[in-house]
Symmetry: C2
Subunit: 218 residues, 2 copies
DNA sequence: AATAAGGTTTAGCTTTGCCTAAAATAAAAG
DNA sequence: CTTTTATTTTAGGCAAAGCTAAACCTTATT
């Protein structure tokens, strides 16, 4: 696998995030990258010449199989580094994203393999997102939104969406972490907020919170 | 402290390596960086505008106090990452340099501090080189070349020079590691090679090997 | 079907960072 | 003290990546 610039890798990552294998519009990509449309046009042309994307002018850009492979390898690195930062260095989950964004560009297969081992061959990162395997396979995406369960169910938190630092702060102050278990006490018919109970007591979660917290029955 | 490009940081690092605080010639710098003289002229001009170096055309370039501070902070990161790669991920010392060269550009004070703690606040890296402190202080440079001791002395290996991968390979095959202790059995008057002894037996080290291995009396 | 609106691309400019070839300067040799 | 040699700097190019403004497609509206 050849070597790519950070900018190229960022475009590939954005493309994967926005479309997976499907076409993405210039505008959406520009927004995601934080650049102007004209810059994006140029950038995707470069990527096209490297066979990482297919470009249809005025229509959209689409990752090639090669591009998808690259995207996954970057995502793998990103999530492994996040795991390292949280599990080993004790960072909070809201802090790790920008750091992982730098670390994901480090080029070394060997390093990734060793890091993976060092972390205990994790399948999911600290947010519960699946870490792509070496060969590109994806572990399952875990859980369903809390609101999808029925009252009385015992649940375990397995994943949280990246919904901005305020969301993470809120999780911290409410002391909600991956692995925590609760009983669903009630679901409001009025605003879909949810009452959770544990040995420590009970509390209500707003609909907006619930939508970004995923759990499994336990 | 502002943010710098990787190229800038590489120049600063090279300048520090070659001259510390003293002036360095365009040519030496070019050689070290692996670029042409004309590129160097441009680059140092840019650094000059950021007050990281003082440039006297046709004479030489010299780090400013600011530049020295930056150089040390990069070196600190480099050596901490090398320590991480060897101590935690199990890399061999000959493999870590190019990786640390990438990792040293990661920008985050917090990350460096946490890494430092995680590694047990090391004073020296896996080669025995001093790791600059947070405030720029330098721990002592350890040891003297093996040939400087007299026969009969008990020594402990504390540092090895970065003398290329063949040198490291040789160390590996001879099973020589930092912390190993030996008795100096003899020093050849003919070629300055040295006979070392341990519980495992005795062996001879060439003058070239000795020159790159540093030890203290123990 | 004609046109207005919105999104996309082209054209042309900027900076970083490297290159080659030519000019300028410093240092060494006569 | 002049000349040769070696080093350094200027001049002019090129590629990556971004920008603005203008031109160009698509699509949606009349």
């Amino acid at each position: 696998m050849k070597t790519h610039t950070e900018s190229e890798e960022n475009y590939i990552k954005a493309l994967y995030h926005l479309g997976g294998g499907r076409p993405v519009s210039n505008g959406d990509l520009a927004q995601r990258i934080g650049a102007k449309g004209s810059s994006v046009t140029q950038a995707v042309r470069r990527l096209g010449q490297k066979d990482l994307v297919n470009v249809v002018p005025y229509k959209g850009v689409q990752l090639t199989p090669q591009g998808i492979r690259l995207a996954k390898s970057i995502l793998r690195k990103h999530r492994l580094w996040e795991t390292f930062l949280v599990d080993k260095l004790g960072f909070g989950w809201e802090e790790v994203h920008p750091l992982a964004e730098q670390l994901e560009h480090i080029q070394s297969e060997e390093l990734v393999d060793r890091l993976f081992q060092f972390l205990g061959s994790p399948k999911h990162d600290p947010h519960g997102d699946p870490i792509p395997e070496r060969d590109g396979q994806m572990p399952p995406v875990l859980g369903q939104p809390i609101g999808a369960f029925t009252a009385g169910t015992e649940i375990r938190i397995v994943r949280v969406e990246d919904a901005g630092s305020e969301f993470f702060d809120q999780l911290d102050t409410m002391n909600i972490n991956l692995g925590n278990t609760y009983e669903i006490r009630a679901i409001s018919a009025f605003d879909s907020s949810v009452e959770l109970g544990s040995s420590a007591g009970t509390f209500w979660l707003s609909q907006n919170m619930c939508a970004n917290i995923y759990a499994v029955q336990s």
